[in-house]
């Protein structure tokens, strides 16, 4: 059960830690709960919880940032034998205003026969790929994996410029020329 209450701003004291569990958009400091974003204060009571959860629903959503285990949609910008470089554009269905860099290493492309993976036969520049964040990576890139059935290329264009449609989990066909190109395809959900 959720009840929406007043609008709050960061720093506003919302309640005592003994009364509520700190939910998203809040933080606790010296026995009290405070709002950390601008939004509407909500109290959710779920069965089994000893205390209701206090959260603040963001009114002005912060742009999405990749987190570990998040499903992201990204565009391949470069490939080399070791990994594919991608621009992360959508995180958990929410577009991020600026691209984040990510890489899909060859061992993270698929779950089986990892050592036989050839990046060029999995991704090509321009492909739109659905992937999962597995690590915050190094200073520059997030590490992504497509080693699940529903992860992989979801949209691509063939060398001829036609749209590719998946015909197996590792092949796609050009709608224009019927040429088959290798890809690590995502299984449509």
């Amino acid at each position: 059960m959720t009840s929406v209450m007043s609008a709050v701003v960061p720093g506003q004291r919302l309640g005592h830690v003994q009364e509520y569990i700190a939910g998203p958009g809040t933080y606790s400091h010296q026995d009290f709960l405070y709002a950390s974003v601008v939004g509407l204060k909500q109290v959710t009571t779920a069965d089994g919880d000893e205390r209701p959860t206090l959260s603040v629903a963001r009114e002005n959503t912060q742009t999405a940032i990749p987190e570990i285990d998040a499903i992201v949609t990204c565009k391949v910008v470069r490939v080399n034998p070791k990994f594919a470089s991608v621009n992360i554009m959508v995180v958990d269905g929410k577009p991020c205003t600026d691209n984040f860099q990510g890489i899909i290493r060859s061992q993270d492309v698929r779950a089986t026969e990892k050592d036989k993976v050839k990046i060029y036969n999995s991704f090509r520049p321009g492909d739109i790929v659905r992937a999962q964040v597995i690590s915050l990576g190094d200073a520059r890139s997030y590490y992504l994996s497509t080693a699940l059935n529903e992860l992989g290329v979801i949209y691509g264009t063939s060398i001829a410029g036609g749209t590719l449609v998946p015909i197996s989990w590792q092949e796609m066909q050009c709608t224009k020329t019927k040429v088959i190109e290798p890809r690590k395809c995502a299984k449509p959900m």
Binding site: Q107, I134, S135, D138, Y143
Partner: protein, 324 residues
């Protein structure tokens, strides 16, 4: 509040200030730099095992039977030094060890280092050398048993073992082709450092000993890295069989470091820095002597140059006594 404002002094505080104007006895002056009390001052002849200090371009010997080692070159059939330092001889091999240099390691050295970068499958470690040393993911003990195999998931969570800034003690295992050092921590005595503070001295001052891990009698542990990085920490009883491998990578200091412990650690640190200031070799015995000598001064005076010099001198005298 009292602040000591001093005038600068020339190197060597006690009346040796004038020696820089007096170039007759340069060797003697330099030998001071090397720890005047461990080595007899002597002639230029290196064959009798005494100290021979050379500067770049100085001829070491014109005898052609010797072989050229590090820090030397041959010119007109003479062996000439290319650095300022001490001549060392092993049989026919002559090398010059530079006085003030970065750490140059040998396999088997115990070093203390700081993680500077985490990359794929390896850490970069600052060990005071010419370049960062490398610690491979495969060269550490993974939590969950000494025999556990490296997994792919370990590669993704390298920061749970060591992250940027962490201090480690490790052993120099090998050299890479580019001269970089490869370290390992595949022993329970190596690993992350906790419960104390870090000091740094010139690498040349740390004496190569059988062990570089010492539990001193006053209840302070010291790790003397051969690279000049030294870790002084509260005494932790070592029982290598019972160490929990999960604990190896913990960032938590032990709870019960008392103010007295801290004072002792600070005292030992300052004693080591005092020895370094007076350019004396550093080993566990001399640290203990210096510590004993320091006890007559209040702790906060130990950062004073004058007091440091006095402590070092007293420790040196104790070493001389020991030798008889």
């Amino acid at each position: 509040m009292q602040v000591s404002f001093l005038s600068p002094t020339a190197r060597g505080a006690d009346g040796r200030a004038s020696s820089r104007k007096d170039d007759q006895d340069m060797d003697l002056d330099f030998s001071d730099l090397l720890g005047q009390h461990q080595t007899p001052k002597g002639s230029k002849d290196f064959k009798d095992g005494s100290i021979h200090v050379v500067t770049p371009g100085e001829t070491i010997t014109s005898d052609t039977q010797f072989m050229r080692g590090h820090g030397t070159y041959v010119e007109q059939e003479k062996l000439v030094s290319s650095v300022a330092g001490v001549v060392e001889r092993v049989n026919k091999l002559i090398s010059v060890k530079a006085l003030n240099t970065r750490y140059s390691g040998e396999i088997g050295d115990v070093v203390v280092g700081r993680i500077t970068e985490v990359t794929q499958k390896r850490w970069k470690v600052d060990v005071n050398g010419r370049q960062d040393a490398i610690l491979m993911l495969s060269s550490i003990n993974l939590p969950g048993g000494v025999q556990r195999r490296k997994q792919e998931s370990d590669e993704l969570q390298m920061r749970t073992f060591f992250m940027e800034g962490d201090l480690v003690v490790a052993e120099l295992q090998a050299f890479f082709h580019d001269g970089a050092y490869s370290l390992h921590t595949r022993s329970l005595k190596y690993g992350k450092l906790r419960n104390g503070s870090f000091i740094s001295v010139a690498p040349a001052l740390v004496q190569r000993c059988k062990s570089h891990f010492h539990s001193l009698s006053m209840g302070v542990d010291v790790i003397l890295g051969l690279n000049g990085y030294i870790w002084v920490s509260a005494y932790v009883p070592q029982n290598l069989d019972e160490i929990d491998t999960e604990q190896v990578y913990s960032n938590k200091n032990k709870e019960d470091i008392s103010a007295e412990d801290r004072e002792r650690i600070a005292r030992v640190s300052n004693c080591i820095l005092a020895l370094a200031q007076e350019l004396m070799f550093i080993n566990d015995t001399v640290i203990t002597f210096a510590y004993e000598a320091s006890l007559q001064y209040p702790l906060k005076d130990l950062i004073k140059q004058e007091v440091k010099a006095a402590i070092a001198n007293e420790a040196a005298a104790s070493v001389d006594n020991l030798r008889g």
